[in-house]
């Protein structure tokens, strides 16, 4: 591309082409983030539930921190790839802020739960449901907005239920809130790349 003068039609064509080309190149597979978080949470929840119901040993609860470790590792790798890409969009930043804030809040609540009796699963579902709903709105992806609202509405049941069964409800909510829209988002991403 050189510093040449364009006619009016060429100018409009160039604007449309550059905007489309940049958008296509920067379209990320956001579904992957939800799949990593969703499958990790469901797997850890089932492991904790199995451990608690089979052995009755409450040390199984330490396994919850595995979710945090997986997420920290995944986010740093993802951040590195984004930095290497050389650009950042407004949506990237907004989604990063939403999940950064909610992730930090979840971590603080988890730490507090070590010292005080807090309905931790209820709070986490509430925070992650809000995050999913906001991400759905930012990406204009209605299934994700819907499953976020679904999680928010079901979150009180995590307080109403008693015993280890709460963990199963927690895992089921995460499967609907993250795994289902994660696969749908990935499908949409693959279709847009083929088109």
């Amino acid at each position: 591309m050189k510093d040449r003068k364009l006619n009016e039609a060429e100018s409009l064509d160039l604007i449309a082409t550059m905007i489309r080309q940049t958008r296509d190149r920067l379209t990320e597979n956001n579904g992957r983030h939800f799949l990593v978080m969703g499958y990790t949470t469901v797997a850890v929840s089932l492991a904790v539930w199995l451990g608690l119901t089979r052995t009755g040993d409450h040390r199984w609860n330490w396994l919850w921190f595995a979710i945090l470790l997986v997420w920290l590792g995944y986010s740093s790798a993802n951040g590195w790839f984004r930095a290497a890409r050389g650009t950042r969009t407004y949506v990237d930043r907004a989604i990063g802020c939403v999940w950064g804030t909610l992730g930090a809040a979840s971590f603080i609540v988890t730490l507090l739960a070590l010292f005080r009796p807090i309905p931790i699963l209820f709070v986490i579902v509430l925070l992650m449901g809000a995050g999913s709903m906001m991400t759905g709105l930012l990406l204009r992806f209605h299934p994700l907005t819907g499953t976020g609202v679904f999680a928010l509405l079901l979150s009180p049941f995590c307080v109403l239920l008693r015993g280890p069964e709460t963990i199963l409800l927690f895992a089921a909510i995460f499967a609907v809130m993250m795994i289902v829209p994660g696969h749908l988002l990935s499908c949409r991403f693959r279709r847009s790349k083929k088109a």
Partner: protein, 95 residues
């Protein structure tokens, strides 16, 4: 009566850079060079012109030990880009 087209934007490379920056929050020099397929020297000159007009802001940072030039469109740049597209529409509609 046709609106005059902004001469600063009515050039292939500068218009391409502004079209990229209008859709992202920021982009570095390497990204812009890849997307526009321009030479480093030419791109550098055109970025300088856009910066002097106040259409973009350029920040020079370091990524590790490597220098990195990050460009962002300014509010004045967005306004100029919008006015340019409106003016173009006037020309096209009149045909």
């Amino acid at each position: 009566m046709f609106q005059a087209l902004d001469p600063l934007l009515h050039s292939e490379l500068r218009l391409a850079v502004m079209s990229i920056l209008v859709g992202v929050e920021q982009a570095d020099f390497v990204f812009l060079r890849t997307e526009t397929n321009a030479t480093a020297g030419n791109l550098s000159v055109q970025l300088d012109k856009l910066q002097k007009a106040g259409y973009i802001a350029i920040e020079k940072t370091f990524k590790g030990k490597m220098p990195r030039t990050v460009c962002r469109i300014t509010p004045a740049g967005i306004a100029a880009f919008e006015a340019y597209v409106e003016a173009l529409k006037g020309y096209i509609d009149a045909r």
